[in-house]
């Protein structure tokens, strides 16, 4: 029975399956539109953001890690000293996600009933920073110090053999907060996964206040007033940042192969590498005439695809579904938002192309290190 559960979890943890489940569930858990909200409530998913929902979630995650710590394979990974912060971050990210959504839903209820939000106090009701805030900070600081001291005494900092440039470990992993980028390296070349995407992430984050012109929902938790912006942010935060970190930390073993949490990290695991470029599909498999020598002709289909993806889709959307957005924000803001949104979608799209068609590159010009 236990084996069956472990095998099921191993199976479900594969990125192709876990990501699909997350992507399908996402709009129902965080409904971006009123239509999804109807389903959200029909499926009773709003109960996640209640006290009972949070408690059930907590029990499930704890059971998962309990199973992990008692398993001979998973416990090896969980007990690595540098992986302990990841367990901590999973708990804290989910807890604070719940805490913010719980308060948002409480506030939404209050506002729907015409009451002020929970954060609202009449302007006259001010408190003095001494003692009301200074003491809270002091206590928080002491508790944090105690926590760090216990952690430091209980768990020695990792120290492996002295550096040896001739002996590379397998797998060689980046620090945990960059493992999301390393995970993207599976699907994209370093210039995209390691340089372009991180730059877009930083710039995109910085641009949020200039894109989100919704004046509502400033200074209090709320979801109903800011559905779309919260949906997009949580997609970036949970799906593009936290999820790849978890996959990269727990599920990537020797040769960066996927290993289910309860699977043994065996160097001998063989995964067939039969990835094919789009140009190979077209010139060799479909037309059977061999690759043209000029790289621009060879990759013309991929180039057209990418140009259409970033060039045509924004125009089509501007005439259709997103016309209101264009009119509200103007062409520059609209263009940048849609470009960043399309870039955010590029990762799952490439993942699915890899999983279904074994597609290696959409555009492959290794002569100029230009592969997408």
């Amino acid at each position: 029975m236990l084996e069956l559960i472990k095998n099921t979890i191993d199976f479900l943890s594969q990125p192709s399956i876990s990501l699909t489940m997350i992507l399908v569930a996402f709009p129902f858990v965080f409904p971006p539109t009123e239509k999804f909200d109807v389903w959200h409530r029909k499926l009773k998913l709003h109960k996640i953001w209640t006290k009972q929902g949070g408690l059930i979630g907590l029990v499930f995650i704890t059971l998962y890690f309990f199973l992990g710590f008692t398993d001979e394979h998973f416990s090896l990974i969980l007990k690595k000293p540098d992986n302990v912060p990841i367990i901590f971050i999973i708990y804290s990210v989910l807890f604070f996600l719940w805490l913010s959504m719980y308060q948002a839903y409480e506030n939404d209820k209050r506002m729907a009933a015409g009451e002020p939000v929970a954060e609202y106090y009449p302007a006259k009701e001010k408190v003095l920073v001494w003692p009301d805030l200074v003491f809270i900070e002091f206590i928080a600081l002491i508790l944090m110090t105690v926590f760090l001291l216990i952690w430091s005494i209980a768990l020695p900092a990792p120290l492996e053999q002295a550096a040896n440039p001739t002996l590379s470990p397998n797998p060689a992993k980046a620090p945990w907060y960059f493992l999301g980028l390393q995970e993207m390296l599976v699907y994209f070349d370093p210039w995209i996964a390691g340089v372009l995407f991180p730059s877009l992430m930083i710039l995109g984050l910085m641009a949020i206040p200039y894109f989100d012109r919704n004046k509502e929902g400033s200074g209090y938790y709320s979801f109903a007033q800011r559905r779309k912006s919260i949906f997009i942010f949580l997609y970036g935060w949970l799906v593009l940042w936290i999820f790849p970190i978890v996959v990269g930390t727990f599920f990537r073993g020797p040769n960066w192969n996927f290993f289910g949490p309860f699977e043994e990290w065996s160097v001998a695991k063989v995964v067939a590498l039969s990835n094919v470029n789009l140009s190979d599909y077209i010139w060799v498999k479909m037309l059977r005439i061999g690759l043209p020598s000029n790289p621009l002709i060879r990759e013309s289909v991929g180039i057209v695809f990418i140009l259409a993806y970033f060039g045509v889709i924004p125009i089509v959307l501007a005439r259709g579904k997103l016309r209101a957005l264009l009119e509200k924000l103007g062409p520059i803001r609209y263009g940048l938002i849609v470009f960043l949104a399309l870039a955010m979608m590029l990762l799952p799209i490439k993942m699915y192309l890899r999983w279904t068609l074994n597609l290696k590159y959409i555009i492959a010009i290794p002569e100029a290190f230009f592969n997408i």
């Binding site: 540098d82 609202y120 001494w130 020695p156 492996e160 440039p165 907060y177 340089v195 206040p209 230009f370």
Partner: protein, 263 residues
């Protein structure tokens, strides 16, 4: 004379000329003294003297910003202590780290530094998450959000540069993986798209010994000069920048109308 003898030691100290010269206000008990205690103290005056009631609630702020700042201070102090013993050379770095735990009774300074660093990355990320979920980036605080994103980036770089310093297998290979991406930087990395365009005749300007990765490592691989560069970045350059940015961040919180809240 008799009056003086009945005074306790504590009140003699707090009543002394030296004490009152340092702390202008006595231990605050009245409303005006409490207000003054914030205004007259350089550290406490990061805060306003009065706040809306919601702003001091833990469930609103999660205290994450304040804790991030506190963890930065813990990291600075423990980092300075570590700098007394640590020499950033290939010859000594690893053995110095070993000595920190082997030769010092109860030597946990490196543990404190490392776990605090992990913790700070987490608190900074969660602080960003809180600020987003309360919509606190909206005007008039939009620029402070930008500063905050820069602070997050700097926090990650600080943690990343520190990762190399123990000079063990974990360190050099994590940094190798991380910095290998830099060689693919468009135009500036020798394996990046467009780098071949930057050439004079047949001579490439962006090569393995002149690209952005070389600048970061001070060499073609993670070695002696990379260790020194990361040490200087970690202990001097990045803390210097992050402290300036933090000053801007805190200043702007006050200038932009203190902590966010419903109108």
């Amino acid at each position: 004379m008799a009056d003086n003898e009945r005074k306790s030691l504590g009140s003699r100290i707090t009543g002394s000329m030296v004490w009152t010269s340092i702390f202008r206000t006595p231990f605050p008990t009245t409303r005006s003294e409490r207000l003054k205690s914030i205004l007259n103290n350089v550290f406490l005056h990061l805060h306003p003297a009065k706040l809306s009631r919601h702003a001091v609630k833990l469930k609103y702020t999660w205290c994450m910003g304040g804790l991030s700042f506190y963890l930065f201070i813990v990291l600075t102090i423990s980092g300075i202590l570590l700098m007394f013993y640590y020499r950033p050379t290939v010859e000594y770095a690893y053995t110095d780290i070993v000595d920190l735990s082997e030769q010092v009774p109860m030597g946990i300074m490196r543990e404190i530094h490392r776990w605090t660093a992990h913790m700070m990355v987490i608190t900074v990320l969660l602080h960003m998450f809180r600020v987003f979920m309360t919509g606190s980036y909206k005007p008039p605080r939009e620029f402070n959000w930008v500063v905050g994103v820069l602070l997050l980036t700097l926090t990650l770089f600080l943690s990343f540069t520190g990762y190399l310093l123990p000079w063990d297998q974990l360190a050099i290979w994590a940094i190798t993986v991380g910095t290998n991406m830099a060689r693919a930087t468009p135009f500036l990395g020798h394996e990046g798209p467009g780098a071949a365009l930057l050439a004079i005749g047949d001579i490439n300007l962006v090569t393995m010994s002149s690209d952005v990765r070389f600048a970061l490592l001070g060499g073609r691989f993670v070695g002696e000069s990379a260790l020194l560069r990361f040490y200087v970045l970690h202990c001097v350059a990045l803390p210097f920048i992050i402290m300036i940015m933090m000053s801007v961040h805190f200043w702007r919180i006050r200038r932009d109308g203190n902590i966010s809240g419903p109108l």
